[in-house]
Amino acid sequence: MELRPSKPFTDMTEAAIKKLPGQLGVYQIADAQGTIVKIGFAGGRAPFGLRSELLKELEALGAGHRFRVEVNMQYTTRYQELLMLHQADFGALPRENAKDPPPRLGHLSPR
């Protein structure tokens, strides 16, 4: 597993999301300029894993975004790791995460 995801982003359309597996994992959503606006996860209570979580995100954020996913059973810790990495790399949380930051997020100083 790479520390920072490097898979290419895919246009966030209903058709693209419906091709996703129903597995658990983490995702990143970027705007049209490629700026990551949200990091999220599909946990054990998501009815269809990444697919259902990203459909909810599409409804909430609207069209014009892109996404990439990482199937990962360690979604809770990977989610927190991605948030901390983003904070370390860019000095702040992604726009949507900053609106409702997770309580007690830690700090990393990655090499």
């Binding site: 054990g44 209570r45 059973m73 810790t77 927190q80 700090h107």
Partner: protein, 388 residues
């Protein structure tokens, strides 16, 4: 030894049991199955309740404001506190307080003001920095992090791994080698503030315990003053040994609590589930699994309470602590495994807590001293201290 709870102990047990069932489990039903934290408002509300119950900071000695509950009673309560999905590692999501391994009761007055009291009030969080990439079971030899004398202080260089909570802590207690020639007599314990230049939390370490992560730390020319030495220079091994020995009792208690919860689920399920025209509980194969669960739980409970009773009496309990940690972690794993088998396919799902307990219980045979080290400690006792 008689471990039948007294009426006072039973009253406290009932109180904690009710708290787990009415406050924790309903909240947990709405959380992600891998959650290890409550929403801040829920946590604050529950802390108020445990304070009102007189049970907050249960492992804090009375001279530091703890509730003055003896270790046998605390062990009985720890068995209750862990009987929920997240209970093995975060009993009641920390609502009962406590500092775990990073208690610093031997701190001097200045250190108590700066670290101990704020920690006991819940204002500061510590981490415990012992294990290194070179090993954790044999700290006397494995500690490679060096602390060298410089300008009325010490410069730390080295790394630590599998450290819980270091990315969120305000300070940690860190063990470093101050005399390369002295083995276990050359280790010193330092209190390191998380904002000290040269202290870095380098990465998250993902494990089977996917609800929470460990971290890897680096100390790079990290200078701390003499005022940050906890205890005496070259006296750090005794601090680590004391923490690890004491912690084995609540560590075992949590394994027992989870084993009881898994076993109770298996008993209930076996009475409900029918296959081939009869209930599971009517089948000898299932009955024997349930009996084996019962044997494992009772054995672990006896050994753990024996260790606690010796600690309460102030007599040596190192061997008993090793035995109880060994037995409770190994038998806990067997009980959860059998309970999953009885539940069949449902036992594998995240709908039930069994799969989380299964993963987390596996770590208990390694964490805070693997089974082999516990056996080694007991063997030394049996065969004499000259055996290495």
């Amino acid at each position: 030894m008689d471990f039948e709870p007294s009426s006072e102990q039973q009253m406290l047990i009932d109180m904690v049991r009710r708290f787990v069932r009415t406050e924790i489990i309903p909240l947990e039903a709405k959380l992600d199955p891998d959650a290890s934290e409550l929403a801040p408002e829920d946590y604050a509300r529950l802390v108020q309740k445990t304070k009102a119950m007189g049970l907050y900071g249960i492992d804090i000695p009375v001279e530091f404001g703890g509730p003055d509950i003896d270790i046998v009673t605390r062990t009985l309560l720890a068995i209750e506190m862990s009987q929920h999905r997240a209970g093995l590692y975060v009993p009641c999501y920390g609502a009962f307080g406590g500092a775990g391994l990073a208690q610093i009761f031997e701190a001097n007055d200045d250190q108590k003001e700066r670290y101990l009291y704020p920690t006991l009030r819940g204002e500061k969080k510590p981490f415990f920095g012992l294990t290194e990439p070179s090993g954790g079971s044999d700290p006397a030899r494995a500690i490679k992090t060096r602390a060298e004398r410089k300008e009325q202080g010490w410069v730390l260089n080295g790394s630590k791994i599998f450290i819980s909570g270091a990315d969120r802590a305000q300070y940690g207690i860190v063990f470093a080698r101050t005399d390369a020639a002295k083995g276990r007599g050359g280790i010193t314990c330092f209190i390191v503030d998380s904002d000290t230049p040269g202290f870095h939390v380098r990465r998250v370490v993902h494990t089977l315990r996917s609800s929470s992560y460990a971290t890897e730390l680096e100390f790079k020319d990290c200078w701390v003053s003499d005022a940050q030495v906890l205890g005496t220079v070259n006296g750090g091994f005794a601090v680590a040994n004391d923490r690890l020995t004491r912690q084995r009792i609540p560590y075992a208690a949590a394994c027992i609590g989870v084993a009881i919860a898994a076993h109770e689920m298996a008993v209930e399920w076996s009475k409900l589930r029918e296959t081939f025209g009869t209930r599971l509980s009517d089948r000898q194969a299932i009955q024997w699994m349930l009996v084996d669960n019962e044997i494992d739980i009772r054995t672990a409970r006896y050994f753990t309470l024996e260790a606690a009773e010796r600690a309460r009496r102030g007599i040596p309990f190192r061997t008993e602590a090793a035995l109880c940690k060994l037995i409770a972690s190994e038998s806990g794993g067997r009980v959860v495994d059998r309970s999953m088998q009885i539940h069949g396919g449902m036992g594998m799902t995240k709908d039930l807590p069994l799969e989380r307990w299964y993963r987390e219980m596996r770590i208990r045979r390694i964490g805070e001293g693997p089974s082999e080290v516990q056996r080694m400690l007991v063997a030394r006792e049996i065969l004499g201290a000259s055996v290495r």
